[in-house]
Symmetry: C2
Subunit: 140 residues, 2 copies
DNA sequence: CTCTTCTGCTTTTGTAAATTGCATGCCGAA
DNA sequence: TTCGGCATGCAATTTACAAAAGCAGAAGAG
């Protein structure tokens, strides 16, 4: 079980945008370079974020991406699920039919609890919280 | 991020052994067939469980596997970590060197919290708890 | 001895993640 | 109105790892 790079890059990208402040428009190339991630990969991720209105895209010269929402109101869960789709630690939770043979499967029981507690964490912290934490680290 | 089949099969296998009671010795073929999982794959998983003393192996005719510990004292975390090694949702947590460029990486911050809350769940429930839950489901 | 079962190692297969490439469309600026 | 920079969308590739299969060997019971 591992956090994917797409999720990681996406969160980092949104944070970078938020840090520039004032809803500035930043070209993707700058975001990618600043975070040291492949631009084309980030492009795909940002398309998902655009669909979820977390960022806004601007074409043409001087184009790029700006924040679509107030970072205080965007939770980590929203960003992650915009990128990966709904969270499923195990297939049979998203698709109960595949688990129909084991209506009493104890693995599902514990995975459901684990998933819930994971989502609680992701829901508890906003992009603004993550930036705040980063500032604290820099200060200390 | 997904729970792996190895983890799932391992937990199911241990539960099956525990359900037979009295530390009976069960050949791997029976465990595999009862859970509908490939025997060779399960074999590798059980080797790890053996090293962690969660199960005990017995060779020769009438050989197989028996429980190595009281199911009341084996947590889901122990089983899972015996199979997969220490839990790392993200690479830079297990290997901080790979993250040295970003000492303030906010992703690490939230992933560490997520990981901790995940492990708390896995630590809270024992094999006996899972079996108990299964019985409840059957009863209702 | 010999048959059965685990053991250890190697190899293959399958699938999803991660990345790259390219043709296209849009937009602002000159 | 044209040009260049930038996003878009889809296709293709590469990489990585999970999942599974294979096989020779060791250990134990009868």
């Amino acid at each position: 079980m591992q956090f994917t790079k797409a999720e990681e890059y996406g969160v980092l990208g949104v944070i970078y945008l938020a840090e520039q402040g004032d809803n500035r428009i930043i070209p993707l190339s700058e975001v990618a370079e600043s975070q040291g991630v492949p631009e084309k990969f980030l492009a795909k991720i940002f398309q998902n974020l655009t669909k979820a209105s977390i960022v806004r895209s601007h074409r043409g010269i001087k184009g790029g991406f700006s924040l679509g929402k107030n970072p205080v109101k965007v939770t980590a869960r929203e960003v992650i699920e915009a990128i990966q789709g709904p969270y499923n630690l195990i297939r049979c939770i998203g698709d109960p039919a595949s688990c129909v043979k084991h209506p009493t499967c104890p693995v599902r029981f514990i995975i459901e609890l684990a998933e819930r507690s994971l989502l609680e964490v992701f829901e508890k912290y906003t992009i603004a919280d993550l930036i705040g934490w980063k500032q604290e680290q820099l200060a200390s």
